[in-house]
């Protein structure tokens, strides 16, 4: 798996909707949906920096490949 193949993956079942990943995403890629769970609102803007994965208290968001889904 090359870095290029990676993308943000979300496990909504583990998300508790704290909003930390939304607030500290440098490119405003993420948003809370109508159930207050995380979703990718603007995938094209994602620069794969991994700030969301570093600060998610619930391990609900990460950079991964097909195998992680």
């Amino acid at each position: 798996m090359t870095a290029k193949d990676r993308k943000v993956i979300i496990n909504k079942d583990w998300c508790k909707g704290c909003g930390i990943c939304v607030a500290f995403c440098p490119k405003n890629v993420l948003a809370l949906d109508h159930h207050d769970k995380i979703e990718v609102a603007n995938r094209d803007a994602c620069i794969l920096c991994g700030q969301c994965e570093l600060r998610c208290p619930d391990f609900a968001i990460w950079l991964g490949g097909e195998a992680d889904e």
């Binding site: 079942d13 583990w14 508790k16 704290c18 909003g19 500290f24 570093l54 208290p57 391990f59």
Partner: protein, 274 residues
Amino acid sequence: MSSTLISNYFREANLPHIWCPGCSNGIVTRALVKAIDELGLDKNKVTVVSGIGCSSRAPGYLDFNTLHTTHGRALAFATGLKLANPDLEVIVITGDGDVSAIGGNHLIHAARRNINITTIVFNNNIYGMTGGQYSPTTPTHALGTTAPHGNIDKPFDITQLAAAAGATYAARTTSYHVNQLIKYIKKGIENKGFSLIEAASICPTYYGRKNKSGSAVKMMEFLRDNYIDIKAYDKLPDDKKIGKETMGEFKEITLPEYTDEYLRLIENLKGAEK
């Protein structure tokens, strides 16, 4: 469904964890695991020991040798573990109340001995698990359920306490500065001696609500905006220091390690018999 890091090092059947929304315990626990992964340690040679409290629940989620002990005594159990099995990498997970109130003496004496244990302190400035009582690190004038009119105590600086007591590596950062936290934990594990890494943490449910600190995001912004590296802090004029907290590496020295000294003593005494 989880990342490779989580599936490799966590007991996934126990996830999701029970910590509150926005609690930074998950961030610090993941940072510890990331540090262990980057160091390439053998999982079977790592032992994580904890006491009692919200943060001390972490070993239950971790797929290493784990030991959940009594309140404040994680370092006492860890000391026995390390002396009996010097090859194990012993890591203690503890909270501010666990390590500086109930286990305060265990902390200073483990530091004084310079035993090769790495202690990660999740400092959320309050007793979260039992309902928001003030702890030894609750700031003066802050509110807790047992300080409804404001705390009149002065808080401990756990990192400097450990450094003064004899720790050979003592550093503090926050759960916002995660890459720095991972770096410090790696240095702590690699230090042959007693290491303490304090992670300034957030408790939105008890500390945050009691003190009207706002959401988890607001509390993370507070960590980002108010923690200043000790070197930069020292250069600030006095009026700019008000309300600021310090982070960075407070101590990094080399001294004889306790387990080594103990084993050397045994070898010397064996020699004396002949």
